[in-house]
Symmetry: C2
Subunit: 185 residues, 2 copies
């Protein structure tokens, strides 16, 4: 059996949104990073509200060499129980992350840009809708833009090419199973 | 800000099912492989019905070195338009893949076992429910088992710890955009 190698007649950047309340949004974005690296594409990942807790993908992407760059920004999820930082600090972190997004997008060095948890950051008003729409407007047509996080804004969904909603059917933590490395973080 | 490093009091293997009709099931499994590799865990991926069309994850996982092993089995999706192989051949391929699953699980070499598209293979009767339940029964308690594919069987969902359903809200192919490397394959 011969292996088919697809190649689209036209390569074009897609806007992909992964939202919903289930497990597998950031995970899915990491899968796209892995798959893109397999194609030799360069990937930039910017995580919002995630600089406080180590997650395996931080070291996982290092194994992919200089094809994938990951920056975790922020100090955890704004407003959730146990997070000690005030709203203003979360907003400042997210606003700084937006500057980084603009810089990376303008660099022309990447074929894939992943904005992890930006939907959440928008929902929590750490970034504004017009700021996110401005990223979409400035996106070079050949750049893939992946946006993850719960509660994606309807205007972002409207602007996207592919949108998946990841719904929780069940989750181990509801049985009091602690998060497990590799699967949950 | 100090970075928190979680460590569960008890490490235990989870059964994770990623199902639904949307984009991001195999992708999510690849993200778990990347994240697991970041933790230094060893991962075995066996893909059902997928040996016919190249996908970027085949080379992506190679970048992760000997932490992740991927075997693509089969000759594409059974019964879909354009697939020239008879049901019997698809079933034979899937049955051989099950032998490989048993072998890899018994080897004790892996902390994560990903059975990509096995839900589909079950739905299409390329494997039988009792065969999949037998994998679950033989799973060592510390092994994470990830099963992807549409139409997960209710008995598999019942046996799982974490189940996500990825629902299509929209997909680029409906606008006649061809699959793009890195994002779609």
């Amino acid at each position: 059996m011969e292996i088919t190698r697809l190649e689209p007649k036209k390569r074009q950047g897609l806007v992909v949104v992964i939202t919903g309340n289930g497990k597998g949004k950031t995970t899915s974005a990491m899968g796209m990073a892995l798959r893109s690296a397999g194609h030799g594409l360069k990937v930039c990942i910017i995580q919002f509200m995630k600089g406080d807790i180590y997650s395996g993908e931080w070291d996982g992407v290092k194994l992919l060499g200089d094809l994938v760059e990951l920056t975790a920004t922020g100090k955890g999820f704004c407003g959730i129980q146990g997070n000690p930082y005030p709203y203003e600090e979360h907003r400042k972190n997210a606003q700084e992350a937006l500057l980084l997004v603009a810089e990376k997008m303008a660099s022309g060095k990447f074929q894939v840009l992943i904005l992890d948890e930006i939907n959440n950051a928008l929902e929590l008003k750490l970034v504004d809708l017009d700021q996110v729409l401005s990223i979409l407007a400035q996106r070079p047509p050949e750049l893939h833009l992946v946006m993850t996080g719960r509660s994606a804004h309807p205007d972002i969904i409207a602007a996207a090419d592919t949108v998946s909603e990841v719904c929780e059917i069940k989750h181990a933590y509801r049985k009091d199973i602690e998060p497990q490395p590799g699967i949950d973080y």
